[in-house]
């Protein structure tokens, strides 16, 4: 026929409008009715198109998938036995982005509308006449034209708008329904956006794990674009990550925005820090941390958040980043832990008393951190991790850690570390874990000792114990709560150990007594082990009541704090210090992770530390404790994330039922931790935390041994379960 354009291989409609319908258009016809199928085939052949027919939707999809560019347009029936025509339509739109024409004997308005809504470029009523098929090529051209326009405008408009514009411009003149078609098209485009989302879920795309690196890329892209102008499409393009979809970016962006909002709520600075995981954030963090921790202390809030974060962190972030300097972690976590973190700040103070709550929160950070920790990069990382975990809630873990650490100060023992971390998340804004990752922030409160250790830890620890020193070390943690933290703040409830040290009195009191040294449960903070000790405990303490033994806290407070932070800090944690104590506390959360045992000294487990520290209170401890086993220091980070969470969870539930401190926390001298094992964490919590930790641990990989330790420690039944579940790394 004429004009044809080119080869069948690639039918090009290009700009010239052929006077006759374009020959060689490659059409795929799908209809389960053989009569219709054969008639359509003949008709299309008569239009000089290249026709492929199939009678099943599944077959059609596989044909399309095999020949990615083998077809120009698809015509499909609505009612088919194996798959709904609209579903097929969605699939095609999503995977191949080809124009699809729907057909049906049904001419009811609602069915036609459905077609439009699902993105059909046309709807034909059976019986189909050849005239209707003559013009289907226009859809191909139109789609191509709109497609390129989309690209140009990418980023300028939030989803949907662009399409809308384009659709407006295109002149739709459908052979069948002109009027309808126009509005349908518009709607369709709008729907497309939604469709994408729906489709995403329908298609069950593999979950994208927002690793630290990925998140950093994301953040960098967002910064480059400007937070206000950052649209998923542009971000996606800037990031240039293969396999990442706009939907992934969109949902992550949403979370990120929430996180930022949260941060700004806590401290404007922090937001920025979020971006920069590094110390910068700490600056503000420290202040924030204090707040955060306090907030955390407020506990009630935190816990919930912590838990959420922790869990989120634990689950969400497989923070591979562990080594990532906390800052990164935080970021990651930030998202996830946004909530929790923030809480920490507040909770911390309160937490201390509340312990319960905070711990959880702390835990969160830790969880985040723990993840990081696992990588066992320097404790700092751990802290970060811890923080990160915790942070998940949205804050940067690193921040968390920092925060936590800072919070420690604030909390005075709270799990500053934990809080810090956790709280950090809140602070997260800033956090980025000023922890400077190395800071095992965790020990925030306790940190005073810690501070030295992880650097961060010191910061963190401060809160509790050393209320100060931590802060100093707390790395940047804005958390500065340092010294206070210990024990205090850990929002979780107690910045476990940390407070033990210094603040222990304050918040830790609750915890401390419990964890005493055991890090304020920041169990998640293994990192904090040093710091965490306070912290982790805090978290845990809260739940766990892990009183990170503050006793430890004095030195270990850090641990406690660290614990919370430890997760983060763990790494840094001078294992000795907080670590144990904190660890336990934190360990709890960590314990979860690191099967706590890991002798914390090494902090490898930091998490373990947590655990160890956790044991403080039992409930939380448990979780983290296991983690704690791991070098609390290290553990914290990673572990905390999980462990903390768990602990936090547990704690909360249990009111810090001491996780049976069985944890041997090797790392932690559990012995030190007065952890009250009495309280029983709610099994659920424990489990959650445990899982989380485990998860974190696993992710972090370093947890392997820890987890085992961790689990075995857990005395609680629930933990037992956890143990069982503990995926052997």
């Amino acid at each position: 026929m004429a004009t044809a354009t080119s080869s069948s291989a690639a039918w090009k409609a290009v700009d010239s409008v052929p006077d006759q319908f374009p020959a060689g258009l490659r059409v795929l016809v799908v209809d389960d009715d053989p009569t219709c199928l054969i008639i359509l085939e003949k008709m299309l052949r008569n239009c000089s198109y290249e026709v492929t027919k199939c009678n099943r939707a599944e077959t059609a999809l596989s044909i399309l998938r095999e020949n990615k560019n083998g077809f120009d347009i698809v015509i499909s029936d609505v009612h088919m036995p194996d798959m709904d025509g609209f579903k097929l339509l969605e699939h095609i739109g999503l995977e191949m982005d080809l124009p699809v024409i729907m057909m049906s004997a049904d001419d009811g308005k609602h069915v036609v509308m459905k077609g439009v809504i699902h993105g059909a470029c046309d709807y034909l009523i059976k019986p189909v006449r050849i005239e209707a098929l003559k013009n289907i090529w226009q859809h191909v051209i139109r789609k191509r034209k709109n497609g390129s326009k989309d690209l140009e405008q990418s980023g300028s408009v939030e989803e949907g708008d662009q399409q809308q514009k384009q659709s407006e411009e295109a002149d739709y003149s459908s052979s069948a329904n002109e009027g309808n078609w126009k509005s349908s098209k518009r709607r369709k485009d709008d729907e497309d956006e939604t469709e994408d989302r729906d489709d995403t879920s329908t298609l069950k795309k593999p979950r994208v794990v927002w690793s630290i690196e990925l998140h950093q890329q994301f953040v960098a892209a967002v910064n480059q674009l400007g937070i206000d102008k950052a649209v998923p499409k542009k971000i996606l393009e800037l990031m240039n990550v293969p396999g990442l979809t706009r939907e992934n970016v969109a949902s992550h962006l949403q979370k990120y925005r929430l996180y930022l909002r949260r941060l700004s709520g806590v401290s404007p600075h922090l937001n920025n820090s979020f971006m920069n995981p590094q110390e910068e954030t700490f600056g503000p963090l420290s202040s924030v941390n204090g707040l955060g921790l306090q907030a955390l202390a407020a506990g009630g809030q935190l816990p919930a958040q912590c838990l959420a974060t922790l869990q989120a962190a634990a689950l969400g972030h497989s923070t591979a980043k562990s080594s990532i300097p906390l800052p990164l972690v935080d970021q990651r976590n930030i998202f996830s832990f946004e909530n929790p973190k923030l809480r920490f700040g507040e909770g911390q103070q309160q937490l201390m008393n509340n312990n319960k709550h905070i711990n959880l929160l702390h835990a969160i950070p830790t969880t985040m951190e723990p993840k990081q920790l696992t990588t066992s990069t320097s404790i700092g990382n751990i802290n970060m991790q811890v923080a990160s975990h915790g942070v998940k809630s949205g804050q940067n873990n690193s921040e968390l850690i920092n925060m936590q650490v800072a919070s420690h100060g604030v909390q005075s023992s709270q799990s500053n570390s934990a809080l810090m971390q956790m709280g950090q998340p809140q602070f997260a804004h800033a956090p980025r874990l000023p922890l400077s990752v190395g800071q095992p922030i965790i020990s925030n409160g306790i940190a005073s000792n810690v501070s030295t250790q992880n650097g961060i830890r010191a910061n963190i620890r401060a809160p509790g114990n050393n209320p100060v020193s931590q802060t100093s070390s707390m790395l940047n943690y804005p958390m500065n709560h340092a010294s206070e933290l210990p024990g205090n703040c850990f929002p979780l409830g107690s910045t476990p150990g940390m407070s033990g040290r210094t603040s222990k009195g304050t918040f830790q009191e609750d915890f401390n007594s419990e964890y005493r040294g055991s890090v304020g449960f920041m169990p998640s903070y293994d990192i904090f082990d040093d710091l965490n000790q306070h912290k982790p405990q805090n978290w845990e303490l809260q739940n766990v009541g892990v009183a990170f033994d503050d006793t430890r806290h004095s030195n270990s407070l850090q641990g406690n704090l660290d614990l919370s932070q430890s997760v983060l800090v763990q790494q840094g944690f001078t294992s000795g210090q907080m670590n144990r104590q904190n660890r336990s506390g934190i360990v709890v959360s960590k314990a979860m992770f690191s099967a706590g045992d890991s002798t914390e000294p090494g902090n490898p487990l930091n998490v373990n530390q947590h655990l160890n520290s956790l044991p403080i209170d039992n409930t939380i401890r448990v979780k983290t404790e296991s983690v704690a086993d791991v070098n609390p220091d290290n553990l914290f980070i990673d572990h905390f994330g999980q462990a903390d969470l768990m602990s936090a969870l547990l704690k909360q539930q249990q009111g810090i039922a001491p996780a049976e401190n069985e944890f041997d926390y090797d790392g932690y001298s559990l012995d030190d931790i007065p952890v009250k094992t009495t309280t029983h964490h709610s099994p659920v919590l424990v489990m959650i935390i445990a899982f989380y930790n485990v998860h974190n641990l696993l992710c972090n990989q370093s947890l392997g041994p820890l987890s085992s330790c961790f689990f075995k420690k857990l005395d609680m039944t629930s933990f037992k379960i956890i143990i069982c579940c503990r995926f052997s790394t």
Binding site: T35, I39, K42, M43, D77, H79, S104, A105, R129, I130
Partner: protein, 150 residues
């Protein structure tokens, strides 16, 4: 030459099918698709239709034997049947199908059964007529395409 009478007969038969409402415009579409490359296209399609639709008729029959009626299922079957029937231009059958579906939608079992019986009758009648038609058509040879003898 010999074809002429046959052709004429064919045309009469065809006209009657349209006039009596057994076939509609869609059938013409099918006829237009027929060409040298597919000289028996219409017959092939119609044959395919009767073969495939027989299966659907059976399904509906079986469904109607199960009480209480599953109207959704019945409607589904009938929807398919209607689609097929309309694509070959089976006007009367299509009308019965539409009626049947309406009874399904309103949950009228009696109406469904009555309509179905009517539908089966129309279906059988159409089948007979078309079979006779195609027999003549085959004997008459290709329509229109033949060159007029000079």
């Amino acid at each position: 030459m010999e074809r002429n009478p046959m052709r004429r007969q064919l045309q009469v038969m065809r006209k009657s099918l349209f006039d009596q409402g057994y076939l509609d415009e869609q059938f013409v579409q099918l006829e237009e698709l027929q060409d040298d490359a597919n000289p028996n296209f219409v017959e092939e399609v119609v044959t395919l239709y009767f073969r495939d639709s027989a299966r659907l008729i059976l399904n509906i029959e079986q469904a109607l034997e199960r009480k209480p009626f599953d109207f959704n299922k019945l409607d589904g079957y009938m929807h398919q049947f209607k689609g097929s029937s309309s694509s070959i231009g089976a006007k009367r059958v299509k009308a019965e199908s539409t009626l049947f579906r309406e009874y399904c939608k309103s949950g009228n079992g009696e109406g469904c059964m009555r309509t179905f019986q009517q539908l089966k009758k129309e279906y059988a009648t159409l089948r007979k007529k078309l079979e006779a038609y195609f027999q003549v058509a085959r004997q008459a040879g290709p329509m229109e395409t033949a060159c007029r003898p000079k």
